[in-house]
Subunit: 555 residues, 2 copies
Amino acid sequence: MTTDIEIARAATLRPMPEIAAKLDIPEEALIPYGRDKAKLDAAYIDGLNGRDPGKLILVTAISPTPAGEGKTTTTVGLGDGLARIGKRTAICIREASLGPNFGMKGGAAGGGRAQVVPMESMNLHFTGDFHAIGAAHNLLAAMIDNHIYWGNSLEIDERRVSWKRVVDMNDRALRDIVVSLGGVANGFPRQTGFDITVASEVMACLCLSRDLAELQERLGRIVVAYRRDRSPITCADIGADGAMVVLLKDAMQPNLVQTLEGTPAFVHGGPFANIAHGCNSVIATQSALKLADYVVTEAGFGADLGAEKFFDIKCRKAGLTPSAAVVVATVRALKMNGGVAKADLGEENVAAVEKGCANLARHIANTKGFGVPVVVAINHFTADTEAEIAAVRAAAEAQGVEAVLCTHWADGGAGAEALAETIVALTEGASHFAPLYPDDMSLFEKIETIARRIYHAGEVIADKKIRDQLRDWEAAGYRDLPICMAKTQYSFSSDPALIGAPEGHTLPIREVRLSAGAGFVVVICGEIMTMPGLPRHPAAEKIGLDDEGRITGLF
Amino acid sequence: MTTDIEIARAATLRPMPEIAAKLDIPEEALIPYGRDKAKLDAAYIDGLNGRDPGKLILVTAISPTPAGEGKTTTTVGLGDGLARIGKRTAICIREASLGPNFGMKGGAAGGGRAQVVPMESMNLHFTGDFHAIGAAHNLLAAMIDNHIYWGNSLEIDERRVSWKRVVDMNDRALRDIVVSLGGVANGFPRQTGFDITVASEVMACLCLSRDLAELQERLGRIVVAYRRDRSPITCADIGADGAMVVLLKDAMQPNLVQTLEGTPAFVHGGPFANIAHGCNSVIATQSALKLADYVVTEAGFGADLGAEKFFDIKCRKAGLTPSAAVVVATVRALKMNGGVAKADLGEENVAAVEKGCANLARHIANTKGFGVPVVVAINHFTADTEAEIAAVRAAAEAQGVEAVLCTHWADGGAGAEALAETIVALTEGASHFAPLYPDDMSLFEKIETIARRIYHAGEVIADKKIRDQLRDWEAAGYRDLPICMAKTQYSFSSDPALIGAPEGHTLPIREVRLSAGAGFVVVICGEIMTMPGLPRHPAAEKIGLDDEGRITGLF
């Protein structure tokens, strides 16, 4: 069998001006980065203002399982499918984090014949955006400790510095550290740590800003520390926002690459999907919408987290109106949601598929609840049987939506033409999109709304400290912020073992965090890791160059 | 007066293919990075093998003072001057470190009408090389702690891990830290720290390697830790060298930009000039020599450090034969070397110039001692008087070398045409270049040779521990390595206050370090800072974008 990397390497990439021309982007608007990547010039993007937007299609999925559902693959396949049926199409996905590639084998962008290329560069430094985000983040950190060092006129409580440092590497040794040891010249010792770069609030700010001016405002609002009286100190108080935006000037320009079939793909931004909203940048999505008639994008994790945040955070804040949503499912993943062990996935098991479809059904209902037309994409695996596929179709029809069998992994865009036709039909009418909750609802009520309506939880548990914290933030002017839920992606509940469609469970809130720059309140339910570690035998041990200078072991 | 940044911004940059064509580099050999930067394709560089090299001109200087001597400016001016008189010329200089720009105002590459552009990008992320070096360095660090975490089969003594982490930021809080706090899941607590990225041995390895294969060998040889029995553990033992070279694949390709007058400039690599050798990459210099008839390059600090390391480390290891050296001096800096305070530099003071010329004379004699023809470039300031300039000429003539007055800062390449003509004449004969000491001399004798012949020190002081360490390394196979001296740049001695040309001083060795990957023994005389801090009011506070989106406060 041909692997993803073999397919990607065998591809002949088209010159970037040719890809751009598909969206009538002139060559002068491209800033080349290598031979097969370009950034879109900021001045050109400004000039797009006032254009009518195209239709925005969200690709989301059932609750993930180790069997895989193929969300990115379907995003790419649908984009290629729309292009094949003559629609002016662009894809918008996230950039990959560098560090995790050295732990486990790296993830491609898509798979099979539905991939975005150049795959190797996209999994390494790409256009340097994440390095720029790391530098901006760490400049702010250095300026905070420097402010304390030179007299601390802002009266920062050294025990209450919430701004950590970041590195794009899986490095557990940096999770919890003490800095400024070694005497007077090195500052005041205090305990802190590093997160991985994609967990940086700078990343979330960049991804939610329409332009550099908004980015600077968001950066300036980031709360970095507190005084002894608990009053907050912001990035603007430290005076770092201007220099940070200078470091992010190039990173703010969306990256343009291509699918294997030459469909334009914007790959830009990559915020964590737990403590942040997990979607590509607003500026990429908005630019794509002004350039294409159909824009296919995706959101992290299953629809309970990814689609909910896409709608309630990204669309709400950026004023986007999604025209349709695709819920991706595989027979294999539905079987696992129906209780089948991974080793037994090769056997036909219609009953397990039917059972697992409870998960699919709830994701469909939830997504429809946002007023957006829904279609199910069955991402086909060769072992799927007719009866199993029929069971998925029946479950979708019971929710009033169509399920379309897709073979883009094996066949590229041709395998998603039927899905593309369905999307065109679905989006002919007006969208009735509305977020789940109004801005002016209290923070705790917003959490309860998500828990009850999306997760089907019976109750939300939070101790007094957390409820008081939420009320304090409301009093400080943060009541209008949306909620960013951080919980396991494997279940509607906070317990990863509770697969399927659990009802009446309890959602315990462990911690709440204010991301005042990004503009949301993070609600943490369960253990959330913001700095991964490396496994016993990291992939890095096998990564290298072969005799012909090609990268091995990365994929 | 027009500032450097105003001049740089007013310049119309020529398209990169036009710059490359001056060296007959075909457009296909360029990998574009933005509109005005390109990398030279590795395969194209391989294809240059076997070509006869052009002439290599080193630009070095007297001992630096706060008055400035203008080494980079003269490198650029001479390059433009050679181009103006019809010579096929390239310039090779170092890349700038990002972090320090946020402390003090950033340094341009050159000044006045003798600059390399695009200046802003070169002082920010440029083509991402330093970010790649940081990532490779920190991957190795993460893998060391990960190895210990998962059972430590190599038996690393956690107290003797010499490999620190790096960040391209001035951040004193990270100099001395304790990592792996917080319990079992985060590893074994130990004390370590961060250096600034340019101090990484990965940087030195990249800058001394001819190709990726040699780079991987050097990375593999880096000593990262010791066992309890003091036996060394290398990067190859950890298994990180392959993945590191993958991270550095693009960074290894030299960057091509241009001077204000359109002369091709390779800007690649930037190792520290104290704990490393302080020159641009071997691969850039060697590529330039195969493409141009004259290659003008520079080395860090004054000639006692910069030129000595250029000759004894870079030229020795890469098999380069320099054809001539330019010693840059300014009347102002000579006056300061003659004892004049900075406030009094505006007054004519021929006696002080004559006194300061003792410093110039020794640098000339030292440089001639390597068998390389020498010329003095007097980098002209408007306040210089005829009599002062005559004094410099006389001092040079007393050493048997010509001193040429240069006005490239004000006039661009036209102001360095006379210097260019002198260089052409000087390099018509064969160079008799030879390093200062043979490979097989003992390490301590090498140190003494540099101290006596270059610094005119009376004796070298080192305690038994240091002498034993050097002997241990000799026994372990490192006897053939050259020495990399780390001492103050402001004096021939280790005392920065001892200006002019001190004789018979004592050189105290504080510490020796093995850079087995880079391939030298670092000898530290005095305090060497490998992680700078930010000042009370860092430049970052004033850096930002103006209403037209231009960067302010960086320069």
